[in-house]
Amino acid sequence: MSFLGFGDENMRCREVARKLSAFLDEELSREEYLRVQRHLEMCALCRKEYEKFALVRAVARKLGDITPRVVPGEGFSLERAFRSVRRVRVLWALVAVLGLFVALLFFWGWQRASLEEQILDVEHFAAFSEDVLTRGKVRVETLEFLAGEYR
């Protein structure tokens, strides 16, 4: 197929190539269909392309004729479908409740840990204060002793 294309007075190869698929399915207007048909009678290269398209379609159609084994033993029943939806919903509700419970447990644990930390801090502060006060007392006594010596 040349760049400019071979064709009758109205249609070139490139234009035909775009319409081959619709031509194959007879989904073109009567006028367009006849123009493509005329072109195909004259152009061997486009005819070859057309045959390849036809092959692809034929194989795909054959594929459609082969029914995959997906038909279930028992047909669709609304009752059964609703039951399965309810089952899934109950399952999700259980998962949600469980998730909430775990989240609450974590929150409770975290709160408790933080309270314990606060208590530890208080104890630590008390010990520190006592130490400072004791050391302060020692320092005052030392000062008094030194003052007596001086006197």
Binding site: F53, L55, R61, K62, G64, T67, R69, V85
Partner: protein, 201 residues
């Protein structure tokens, strides 16, 4: 397809009557929809699941069904929408799951079901191989092209019916189908070269 009167929902009737009407419609098109779902998903279990959800959603929105159009096409459109939503979710999951591929593999080689019509073992083996190759090509098509090719080529819908199901103009169906077939044709040309035209008889 079917006559419009057969599909008319018994409006103003009891829920039981509506259910009976719905189940009768479902019975007619279930096998067809299963095939459609199978070719979209490429997996038996996912296809069954998809059809189940499509029917449920169809029942939920049964009052919006326009009985001038075939019931089958209406449910096909619903099924396609659910499939698209699931594909989006799957893309998201695939991004995070390295083990996704293992789950995707399917079990059935349905090309084996192609019957020998007195053509000889070599020819039938070659035909089966071509069917497998075309199926693989269709599976790998971009989603929009795949939808059109499954509807028009595999399921045998007209452009108009396909445009109803997909929800796009006929011109879009035409161009997508052309591109999809060209893609498959190129893949076959690459695989079989000049022998391509002699493959199918």
């Amino acid at each position: 397809m079917h006559m419009a009167e057969e599909h008319a929902l018994p409006l103003g009737k009891t829920l039981e009557e509506e259910r009976a009407w719905f189940e009768a419609q479902v019975k007619e098109c279930e096998a067809h929809l299963l095939r459609f779902a199978y070719y979209l998903t490429g997996n038996t279990e996912r296809a069954k699941d998809l059809v189940q959800e499509a029917f449920l959603r169809a029942f939920q929105y049964r009052h919006s069904f326009d009985h001038r159009y075939p019931f089958e096409n209406w449910v096909s459109a619903i099924l396609l929408n659910i499939h698209r939503q699931r594909e989006k979710k799957d893309r998201f999951l695939k991004f995070f799951s390295a083990f996704w591929q293992a789950e995707q593999e399917d079990e059935e080689d349905f090309a084996e079901q192609l019957e020998d019509e007195g053509e000889g073992p070599e020819t039938i083996a070659l035909k089966r191989q071509v069917i497998r190759d075309v199926y693989r090509c269709i599976e790998r098509l971009p989603a929009k092209m795949k939808e059109v090719m499954v509807l028009c080529d595999i399921m045998g819908y007209s452009y108009e019916e396909a445009s109803e199901v997909i929800g796009c103009p006929i011109g879009t169906v035409r161009s997508r189908l052309h591109r999809a077939r060209r893609y498959v044709k190129k893949a076959l040309e690459a695989a079989y070269g000049d022998e391509l035209l002699g493959l199918w008889g």
